[in-house]
Amino acid sequence: MMSAAQRALRNDIVIGCILLALAVAAPFVVDSRFAITQTIVFFIWAMVTVQWNLVFGYAGIFSLAQMVIFAFGAYMTAVIGLELGWSVWAAAPVAAVGAVGFSLILGLACLRLTGAYVALLTLAVAQIAYVLIRTETLPLGGQSGMSRFGDLGFRPMLGADWYIGNYYVGLTLLTISIIFSIIVIRGPLGLAFQALRDSPGLARARGISRLKYQLWVFGATAFFTGLAGGFYAAHFRIVGPQILSLSLLLFMLAMVVIGGRGRVWGALIGTGVLLLTDELLREVAGDYRNLVLGLLIALFVMFMPQGIAGALSAGVDKVKNRLTRKRETPSSH
């Protein structure tokens, strides 16, 4: 009989394939350019939140450094493109490796701390980067940002439909990062993090080093976050300091929290729901968009701490129990 873990893995694969099929078919079915380009933005932010969910939801590291790592990937891609003249296809992966290096340095500084201290320190690092870029202390184009470093090159091939090319590159990158996150979550590392969260002292006594494996996940997720940054730069063809703003960071955090921390599909659901709400609120609430968003975040974390994904899986379990109880003969207990 399949153990609980194997059944969960099978479910993930099934859900994954269905979503992938829908996403692949979408450009042929939907012909509105706005819907496709918005989905590309969804792909970018989903890549970041999926990795952040691994760091925050599973590894239990309360880091607010995800966007500064994302920005590192984006800016490095731009710099390589401008200075070395490389095409974005080569610059982005190199920038992603750079982001891994940057995150390991950051990790060595922060990961010996716990809980609130990590959040504060990573928030401070993000604020430093924002100030240094805005005041042009770092030669990264200041407030207006950097551009003219090239793009994915679909314009010559597809002309007006260039964004379809970007769409499929974004989809591929997101798929890879989700597969990576499932492998980590369902593998020994996922067990190690659950053990570290349940009892750090016992985990240490059983040979699990908190710092080493948190650093490992910090670096590994930084690769995909950096890559997402590179893709962001290639897609929008400009990189500016606003990607480091506090409001964007908190918007992304809301995606992870509302979606459901520590759930495989939590980040994806959260990203989708928040982007849709943001669009709706732009028309409906207009100037009061942040007010509603802020209250939403507070209410969700108070009344649905395990997020939409958590509530969904709880609902599914309830239905399943009711089904199994009906099927079993009453005398079985």
Partner: protein, 292 residues
């Protein structure tokens, strides 16, 4: 010699402002184990309330000050009944409360934007002129900020050390169950602490806007500095937070003169990161050993 005096005056003023907001934050963490990310926007609301009471309603400055303190305290109490009380019972309260207060911060800042517009507004509580001490010219503005901070720090220290309620707050921070077994109504303690922190934040909001201007987002930077000072002093150590506030105020003033005003803050952060790597639990913090 002159720049040294200037650094001293600016440093003490910065220190005073940071002390006012940091001490409230450290108190709330000590008693509740709660990091309040809405602390920055409460600071801003304090500044705006003083402006509204004085400039728009025409009341005297003193009414503006106490009105702002009352508003700060009220926000603290509303947050207790609105969010904190339910969440205290939930699992991993420490991370959830940070996210919930982020939501409140975003919402309140949006209200400030709608209420007072985004453009900078001057803070009516201002004092011009100054006086000389030996070779040093001290503007009244800086002197009053420093005096106010020292007075409130003294009152707070007396309250915490000597008064019955102050001791109950310290007891709750050191061991919540034991405090309850002594008949302390911990719910009451939390309300007092949040109200106190709100009032102190409102005052530091007035101080800050009197040196710069009122803008809806003015609270973010001082809040992060207050966090950093708390971290350097060791979260929950109120006395050390006041000392660290003045120390870091001086360092930032020195850095501003040395590297230019926009580099004061980053230098501060780099120093803090160095401190945290050297002492992961802050200068005065202690590591608790977990017994299995």
């Amino acid at each position: 010699m002159d720049t040294l005096n200037q650094i001293l005056v600016t440093g003490l003023t910065l220190g005073a402002m940071y002390a006012m907001s940091t001490v409230g934050l450290s108190l709330v963490w000590g008693a509740l184990g709660m990091l309040n990310l809405a602390h920055g926007v409460i600071l801003a609301i304090g500044g705006y309330t003083a402006y509204w009471v004085i400039a728009q309603m025409g009341f005297p400055l003193v009414v503006g000050l106490f009105g702002a303190m009352a508003m700060g305290a009220l926000l603290g109490v509303v947050m207790y009944f609105g969010i904190v009380r339910q969440m205290l019972k939930s699992k991993d309260f420490e991370t959830n409360i940070i996210i919930a207060t982020i939501g409140i911060a975003i919402a309140l800042e949006n209200l400030l934007l709608r209420g007072f517009g985004g453009s900078a507004i001057p803070q009516p509580i201002q004092f011009s002129g100054g006086f000389w001490i030996g070779m040093v010219y001290v503007p009244w503005q800086n002197a009053i900020i420093l005096i106010t901070a020292v007075v409130f720090m003294g009152l707070l220290a007396w309250f915490l050390q000597k008064s019955r309620h102050g001791r109950a707050i310290r007891a709750t921070a050191q061991n919540r169950d034991a405090a309850r077994l002594m008949g302390v109504d911990t719910g009451n303690v939390y309300i007092q602490v949040l109200a106190l922190a709100g009032a102190l934040a409102a005052i530091s909001g007035i101080m800050l806007s009197s040196m710069t201007t009122l803008t809806p987002g003015m609270g973010a930077d001082p809040m992060i500095k207050a966090f950093i000072i708390c971290v350097v002093a060791g979260l929950g150590n109120v006395g050390a937070a006041a000392i660290a506030a003045f120390a870091l105020g001086m360092i930032e003033a020195g850095a501003q003169f040395q590297f230019g005003s926009h580099l004061g803050f980053p230098t501060l952060l780099v120093i803090v990161i160095a401190v945290l790597i050297w002492r992961p639990y802050g200068l005065f913090g202690r590591e608790e050993v977990e017994r299995l």
